[in-house]
């Protein structure tokens, strides 16, 4: 196994959790690489574990990448916040790329099953959501963070409350406003 650039990755993750969201651009190739290996390993097993969530892979991927002594993971909000961001970027970048390629192609003909069509639809929805989330973050960062943690990070209401250090009822209120607002924003497209 080759050398892992843990120094660099750790530094980038620190920058990321200090609020520098652009650090994720530099991190992504490294994370993707690790994710690919992990996913490939799980799939080549005799019976792939269908219950394992992709978010677990994201967590595992950068646990492997990070020098635990330097990155301060006492703050669980860091860990889950970063994981959710990475997951969001992974899915949205894929959706944007997918969407750009399919424009102009008659994708209907190539459908081997319904699932490909649904994938195309899903891509458009994800892109719309990502745009809407950016707009939400412009006036209410906390709500955007809640949505990112829950939808991309896979956290429950209770887990989100725990990670952010607020009451469950607060998260519920953030969530219901955010859902309504994002729905309205996405309808505009």
């Amino acid at each position: 196994m080759g050398e892992k650039p843990t120094e660099n990755v750790t530094q980038l993750l620190i920058e990321l959790s200090n609020g520098d969201r652009e650090a994720v651009d530099l991190l992504l190739p490294v994370i993707y690489d690790e994710l690919r290996k992990l996913a490939a390993n799980y799939l080549r097993r005799e019976r792939p574990d269908h219950t394992l969530q992709p978010t677990a892979l994201v967590h595992e991927a950068y646990l492997r990448l990070v020098d635990q002594t330097r990155a301060n993971w006492q703050n669980r909000a860091h860990f889950f916040g970063v994981a959710a961001q990475i997951m969001r970027r992974l899915l949205v970048d894929h959706a944007r790329k997918h969407n750009a390629e399919k424009r102009g192609q008659d994708f209907q003909k190539l459908s081997l099953d319904e699932n490909i069509d649904r994938t195309v639809e899903r891509s458009a929805e994800l892109i719309a959501l990502d745009d809407a989330l950016k707009a939400l973050a412009a006036f209410d960062e906390q709500k955007a963070r809640v949505v990112e943690l829950r939808y991309f990070g896979g956290l429950s209401i209770e887990e989100t409350a725990d990670v952010l250090g607020v009451a469950t009822v607060t998260i519920k209120r953030h969530w219901r406003f955010a859902k309504a607002w994002l729905y309205g924003e996405m309808q505009k497209k």
């Binding site: 690919r36 992709p54 081997l112 209410d140 949505v147 209120r173 309504a180 729905y183």
Partner: protein, 145 residues
Amino acid sequence: MTPEHWRQVEEIFQAALDLVPAERSTYVSQACADDSGLRRDVEAMLSQHESAGNLLEKPPYGETELSALAAMEALATEDDGDGDPMIGRRLGAYSIEREVGRGGMGAVYEALRVDKEFAMRVPYPHNISLCITSHDSSADFMTRS
């Protein structure tokens, strides 16, 4: 729309939802007073709350025949370049490895049998060519000698 505006909208929105439905519109009228812009946004938000339904309730990576893990692998491998959504997909016991040709009928892919039981019976992975036709949505399996 300023953050302050949305804070006002939210305050009334949340308070209205804490009331029983019958009391909401009276409350909203009172709370918004003469501010028609505020009222418009609050009412829109309340309507959207009703309509939003299942939005964001299902995970973004679910629901295909592929396991969530296979979807993740497809995501990760697509980044390598040709962007063909077929590459890396699992079809039954086969994993689609690469495109080997393209014709009038569709694309021909090389697929690898990843069924472990099968692999035990032959010393090498059994490669097949998979012809995916574009007009009848069927896959014809052709074995390669």
